[in-house]
């Protein structure tokens, strides 16, 4: 198992969001987090990303507890609600900066950023200051960060926010490629996401279910 979670509980403020949460995720598998607003989907993702400490329970990455798994920080990529796009820099500069943060050198980061932007359909906006991008284009730019370097686990919080249908298709292909290369996905969303054969984790109960085929949830 790439990621296994045992008896996890999270307390935010004075409130317990969920308890006794257990699940595991193998390479290439995907899990959708479902649940009403405030049920702890974002908190679970932030916890796995290392921002929060669990109130109880253990998280293990490839058999070792998270605290001892030094490779986890680099192996997992997290995308939150916010796009982290600086309006005064161009689309390409924004993406290349993320590449530099991941440890690429300047030249490689720029080349990689160009390739990823072309694939994401943002090639024409490459030299445009990001303040002129629409909300959906900014979200696409944020998603591009996941594609700069191969990673073993994606933690995505509402990745489809503001995306149009073409961009959702593109995200679906990116998710499929990622899983084909052995990457696991943990994704929180309350709209249908193109993620075939995903398990669903219902929060706050922590029940596992087979995810309904996309589309049925809207009715």
């Amino acid at each position: 198992m790439a990621l296994s979670v045992e008896g996890l509980a999270v307390i935010r403020g004075e409130r317990r969001l969920f308890k006794d949460l257990s699940f595991s995720l193998a390479a290439g598998e995907a899990m959708l987090l479902r649940g009403p607003n405030g049920s702890g989907k974002s908190s679970l993702l932030r916890l796995l990303a290392g921002f929060l400490a669990p109130a109880a329970g253990t998280i293990a990455w490839q058999g070792r507890p998270l605290a001892e798994a030094e490779d986890f920080r680099a192996a997992a990529l997290y995308l939150g609600h916010q796009d982290a796009v600086k309006p005064q820099f161009t689309t390409e500069q924004n993406l290349a900066y993320a590449g530099c943060l991941l440890g690429l050198d300047n030249a490689t980061a720029e080349i990689r950023a160009g390739e990823v932007l072309d694939a994401a359909g943002l090639g024409r906006q490459r030299r445009l200051p990001a303040r002129y991008l629409s909300a959906g284009q900014k979200r696409r730019l944020a998603l591009c960060r996941l594609l700069l370097m191969p990673a073993k686990l994606w933690l995505l919080d509402e990745p489809t926010n503001a995306l149009d249908s073409a961009a959702i298709d593109w995200l679906g292909r990116a998710l499929a490629d990622h899983r084909a290369q052995g990457g696991a996905v943990l994704l929180a969303s309350h709209v249908p996401v193109p993620l075939p054969d995903a398990q669903a984790l219902l929060l706050p109960e922590g029940k596992l279910a087979k995810d309904e085929p996309a589309g049925d949830e809207l009715t």
Binding site: F51, A74, Q82, D83, A84, Y97, L101, N106
Partner: protein, 221 residues
């Protein structure tokens, strides 16, 4: 290390940009100091007597102006999440941001201060001491200020809280900074004061990135 310099470069570009910290800081510094001859009168002896204190107090206050945005802007748009999860340790990331803050604010202040000192009739023998004292003192302003900025992250009145937290810690810098200039003006050696400023900087350099990183981690919870 390329990540470290990428952060320095980018923050410096933001600081020097149109909405950046550099312009506000330098304008405030120049304007505040130019008001003194108008306020207290143009007598050379009086201006020379107060010049060191005026320049240092103005530098201290000017440095506070941009501090509340140091991490706040990155916190609001999510960049701080990205920085905190990057392979580079958060302490070094914070150090890079503080370095960029100093290059954009403290360094230009130190470099234009001798010109303003001439305007205030400061003894020309004291000018090198002033420049050196500011070069040693202003990095401490950014470093200690960084702790305050990180602690007030997420607080709504951060702009008010940062000076309240950091100014008391910066009083030694003010005292020895002014001391260095006055010693040089009276013909004494400025080096004891400069050495103390250096010691303060060394301490701040070691402690402040760790303290600020711990505060930023708390804010991201």
């Amino acid at each position: 290390m390329s990540a470290f310099w990428a952060i320095v470069q980018r923050d410096l570009r933001i600081n020097l940009g149109a909405q950046g910290a550099a312009l506000t800081t330098i304008l405030f510094f120049v304007l505040a100091i130019s008001l003194f001859p108008l306020g207290v009168g143009p007598e050379p002896q009086l201006l020379a007597r107060i010049s060191a204190g005026v320049i240092w107090v103005a530098a201290l206050l000017a440095a506070q102006l941009s501090l509340d945005r140091l991490f706040q802007a990155d916190h609001e748009d999510g960049t701080l999440d990205l920085l905190a999860r990057a392979p580079l340790p958060l302490t070094l990331t914070i150090a890079a941001k503080l370095l960029a803050h100093w290059l954009g604010t403290g360094l230009p202040l130190a470099l234009i201060a001798p010109l303003l000192a001439i305007m205030l009739q400061m003894d020309s023998a004291a000018l090198p001491a002033l420049l050196l004292a500011l070069l040693l003192g202003t990095p401490s302003l950014s470093l200690i200020g960084g702790i305050g900025a990180a602690l007030t992250l997420g607080a709504r009145r951060g702009a008010v809280l940062v000076p309240l937290l950091t100014l008391p810690l910066l009083i030694p810098v003010l005292i020895f900074g002014v001391g260095a200039v006055e010693a040089a003006a009276t013909g004494l050696s400025a080096s004891p004061h400069l050495l103390l400023l250096g010691a303060f900087l060394a301490l701040a350099l070691v402690l402040s990135p760790f303290a600020a990183a711990a505060a930023v981690k708390l804010a991201l919870e």
